[in-house]
């Protein structure tokens, strides 16, 4: 079997929608009509969540107004981690199945994820100063998120570092997969070790510790941040596909 033939073009029976979307043309057919809607809904949810958190949600009993930083810090942190998980998934698709779209996605997820991680770090630092009394401490949670940021930056640099694009994709995919061990470390750091950062307020296994009037804006702005991430990545992946098409069209013209 020739692996250099575009894989994922109707030939793979397993894997579902990830394989289905792995064809760039098919991705564009789905993404192009979806993009305006994605952009509109994410903009709406971000605006509602941010305004609600900034001005309408009640002040916290312990932290007062400073707890409002939660409504941008926590969604940014969740998106930063989910973005890295997505990076690991597309890297796996790239290494194992050699989907061409997976490489493009990896290249475009990196900078966006790094941006959300930076927002998480900066907003957290601005939260730490008035509450803890320090902008930064080297506890396990903060350090592991800083490592996540550097993993993103390393990936962004590595995937663009090679003259031969395929080498960059391979190396960056290995980095992304290896770095994925950091994700459970971030999540459980506050349970495994004594940290200055507080424990998880909302856990998947139930047992949240947040009042409903503060939970709603948090969920809305989380959904908004997630959709904003997806919108940016889909727009950038689409743009990258067009750029490649342009390059091959110009090459065809030059060879004519």
């Amino acid at each position: 079997m020739n692996e250099d033939v575009l894989p994922g073009v109707g030939r793979l029976k397993t894997g579902g929608w990830l394989h289905y979307l792995a064809n760039p043309a098919r991705f564009l057919r789905v993404a192009t009509p979806a993009l305006p809607w994605l952009a509109a809904v994410s903009l709406l949810l971000c605006v509602v969540g941010i305004v609600w958190g900034y001005a309408i949600a009640p002040a916290d009993w312990e932290q007062g107004d400073a707890a409002r930083i939660m409504y941008v810090h926590v969604p940014a942190a969740w998106v930063a981690m989910a973005g890295y998980a997505a990076l690991a998934v597309v890297s796996l698709l790239s290494i194992v199945w050699r989907h061409p779209l997976a490489d493009i996605a990896a290249e475009e997820i990196g900078p966006v994820g790094a941006g959300f991680t930076a927002v998480c770090l900066v907003s957290g630092s601005l939260w730490g100063k008035p509450m803890w009394g320090a902008y930064w401490v080297w506890d396990a949670r903060l350090t592991s998120v800083l490592i996540l940021f550097f993993l993103y930056l390393g990936h962004v640099a590595l995937i663009r570092a090679f003259d031969n694009k395929a080498h960059g994709y391979r190396a960056a995919a290995i980095l992304a997969l290896a770095g994925a061990v950091n994700l459970p470390i971030i999540v459980f750091s506050v349970q495994w070790w004594n940290t200055l950062h507080q424990g998880n307020t909302i856990s998947i296994s139930g047992g949240s510790k947040i009042y409903i009037t503060m939970l709603y804006p948090l969920l809305i702005s989380t959904l908004g941040f997630y959709l904003a991430f997806i919108t940016m990545v889909v727009a950038r992946v689409s743009a990258a596909i067009y750029e490649r098409k342009t390059a091959s069209a110009l090459l065809a013209v030059a060879e004519r």
Binding site: A59, W61, E62, L92, M131, V181, G206
Partner: protein
């Protein structure tokens, strides 16, 4: 059938497994240095040398706070406890806003000659529970929770409590 795809998948899985095991083992091995602070019990057990810098974390013992003003800067004596042991702390300077009895704190400094911890910096550690002030008050009045004695119960109990009271 061993296709190249399957071979690559198993290779990635094997590498991932080995790498995760290596990281997990190193984290377990370095677990003490990954801990941001020592609890009073650990401090009593380890008895760090006088002048050796470390971080002490725990809860400010109720009724232990005594602040004296020497000129402009206040000096505060308080005890940090984890429920089993307590360490006396002296700190000169302005404490963070969240500092109060029953509050989690991390003090950075070293043991002084008098057996009390001399802090250069005191950080406040806040809880992971978020609720408006009036909900906290009604929880206190209902005897369901007092911030002095640890974290609140699961939010489902207080969310439904007020929802039921309102409906």
């Amino acid at each position: 059938m061993r296709t190249p795809k399957k071979r690559r998948l198993y290779l990635v899985l094997a590498c991932g497994l080995c790498f995760s095991a290596a990281v997990g083992l190193s984290l377990a091995a370095f677990s003490t240095s990954l801990t941001y602070f020592l609890s009073p019990r650990q401090v009593v057990a380890k008895a760090p040398a006088v002048g050796q810098s470390f971080r002490l974390g725990g809860v400010v013992e109720a009724g232990s706070v005594l602040t004296t003003l020497a000129g402009e800067t206040p000096t505060t004596h308080f005890a940090v406890t984890d429920g089993r042991a307590a360490v006396n702390v002296t700190y000169t300077g302005v404490l963070p806003d969240l500092f109060r009895e029953g509050q989690g704190v991390v003090a950075i400094g070293s043991m002084g000659p008098g057996g009390s911890f001399v802090a250069d910096e005191v950080l406040a550690k806040h809880g992971a529970a978020y609720m408006p002030k009036d909900v906290e008050q009604s929880l206190k009045q209902a005897g369901k929770w007092d911030p002095k004695f640890g974290p609140p119960p699961d939010a489902s109990s207080w969310n439904t409590m007020t929802v039921k009271a309102g409906s």
